[in-house]
């Protein structure tokens, strides 16, 4: 048995295999649902209804997709340059921390000034968090996978320290939470009565900007070249270490914007459960999108729909909502397998 690169890829294959991948993940989830003694058709119908079935549900899904677009973009940008940033979680919280530090009254600016300043501060925070592992990678050859992963734990403890110390809300009844950001720091809701906020528009804009950088700028070209073959890129005169550093700054900044948007647009303050693993889920989003910045939007909405739908479903059908995590993780594995088979064929010899 061996794999051969396919000479040509038909459109049917390129679209059909990923679709098959999602169906395979769905089938796997269906088996688990049956083990829970529930009917998979009922459960999937409930998930669909709970995520897309009403205007309210759809808006809830888009709200949940917003941070995932940011962390998905962060992973996509980094992975394109083969910078294995698994630290989206830490960078996300870094953005949230910066938002709370400067947005709770320290800077009494009007909204048109304050919001850009907060965005910049957040991006700076996230970029700094990823810059360290990228530096260790290029300077000392330390594998960034492990360092970014370990940073997640370190930074979450740091957030906990801040929330029980300098950032603690004195009016918080002892809960480890920060003060609410001031009115000028809040991203307005898109429509009255909905939770969907301008952070969603910001996320869409970010996706287009990243797409533009990727396809239309020299930096984007260099990032892809480094990702494809760092040695060849070096011989072609591309400053590999500098490109990796820039990639880190962009990637960390994007994940941090997610933290900013979640605090300024939705929650209002910082708590230790601000992110239910958005950083890790962003990796899945990026892979489902095949690292395409615009594809990240669709992938984030899909993943958000699974989570929101599963929450609604588990309340009525009694299947644990962890089925959403299982489905998302399984679809990651089936998707990377499917993509490989669009590029290679199996030969039994």
């Amino acid at each position: 048995m061996r794999l051969e690169p396919r000479a040509e890829r038909s459109l049917l294959l390129t679209l059909g295999f990923p679709l098959l991948a999602l169906m395979a993940a769905g089938l796997f989830a269906a088996v688990l649902v049956m083990l829970a003694g529930a009917n998979p058709f009922t459960v999937f119908a409930l998930i669909l209804k709970g995520s897309l079935g009403s205007r309210f549900a759809l808006m809830e899904t888009l709200t949940r997709a917003t941070p995932l677009i940011f962390t998905g973009l962060a992973a996509a940008v980094a992975f394109r340059a083969k910078l294995w940033n698994i630290g989206g979680e830490a960078q996300f919280y870094a953005g949230a921390v910066m938002t709370v530090v400067f947005g709770t009254g320290l800077l009494p600016l009007p909204a048109p000034l304050l919001i850009p300043v907060l965005m910049f501060a957040a991006m700076l925070g996230g970029a700094a968090i990823l810059y360290a592992p990228a530096f260790l990678k290029t300077r000392f050859g330390v594998d960034e996978v492990v360092t970014t992963l370990l940073f997640n734990f370190i930074f979450l403890l740091f957030v906990s320290l801040l929330l029980e110390g300098p950032l603690k809300d004195p009016m918080g009844l002892g809960w480890p939470q920060s003060k609410k950001v001031i009115a000028d720091a809040q991203l307005p809701r898109l429509m009255k009565g909905l939770r969907l906020h301008w952070g969603f528009v910001l996320a869409l804009t970010a996706a287009f900007v990243v797409w533009f950088i990727d396809r239309r700028t020299v930096l984007g070209y260099e990032m892809r070249a480094v990702g494809h073959n760092a040695k060849a890129a070096h011989f072609a005169g591309i400053p590999v270490a500098r490109v990796i550093a820039k990639t880190a700054l962009i990637s960390g900044g994007l994940a941090a914007l997610g933290g900013f948007s979640e605090v300024a647009g939705l929650k209002g303050n910082l708590t230790l459960d601000l992110s239910p693993g958005f950083g890790y889920t962003g990796i899945v989003v990026a892979m489902l999108a095949l690292l395409n910045p615009l594809g990240v939007i669709a992938a984030a909405v899909f993943v958000a729909a699974v989570f929101v739908g599963a929450d609604a479903m588990s309340r009525s059908a009694g299947v644990p909502s962890y089925i959403a995590h299982v489905m998302v993780a399984a679809s990651l594995l089936t998707m990377v397998t499917a993509v490989m088979f669009t590029r290679h064929r199996l030969r039994w010899r």
Partner: protein
Amino acid sequence: MDVLAILFTTALWAAAIRIASPLIFATLGELLCERAGVINLGIEGIMTVGAFAGWITVYAGFGLWAGVVVAALAGAVFGLLHAVLVVPLGLSQHVTGIGITLLASSLAYYFYRLALPEVTTPPKIEPFQPWAIPGLSDLPFVGEALFRQTPLTYLAFIMVVLVAWLLARTPLGLAIKAVGENPAAAEAQGINVVAVRMGAVVAGSALMGMGGAFLTLSAFNSFFFDMINGRGWISVALVVFGSWRPGKALIGALLFGLFDAYQLRLQQWAGAVVPYQLFLMLPYVLSIIALILVSRRAAYPRALMVPYRKGER
């Protein structure tokens, strides 16, 4: 108590070895995978599955050793999945590993919730009891620290010897090292690269599963969410720190255990002045520092993370 005096208490050293035990299993497992040229980032999830599988087996009324076996088997199953995806199919080892971790841990949580839908405090099981080794356990200081541990700790040490012997003294060990260094040359020697790599990943993952089971069957006596808490990632760092050698990896794990046990005691001593989070950060910070220190002269297995396709160069 004096800060330095803590170092001379047997309780500290006994705790260090206890803390090191799951890391020894997991580090050995990762080491086996990496020596064969495959990085296994599924480790965190595989440990979660091992912890859950071991615990639920005992909770269901089977023996503790049955729990260990089931944990190893569960680890092996996810190892096999990782192996199939990255060895014959040649998928990215990073992405697949992260995917395995997400899948394995979410499956463990799913089945935990399915088994116990309503509980808030996780039910306990009767764990492994310490075995005092006759004779040796009566030695002053050393006996108390080393020879009054639970059986799984002794098993961890036996595994170190076993893996070291396997790698250094057997043809199979030579084959594992060969496919991790130069798979094309190994193939030319008549070694089945795919089979050896897959076997190493499956066996290594079984060890990771046992490391997870140590936590539920020998330390915390119950299963709860996020209980692995980065121990898998720390083990990946320990493999680098131990330069891919079982003996050095053991020393790394023990040093780590000692440090962790020491900071736990310092925390009680200085907890009023220094925020406890700083102490909790130390293990992770220490792992990063260890990586920086050794990375300059780290001799990675040369084919690590390079998929092997027959006839391709």
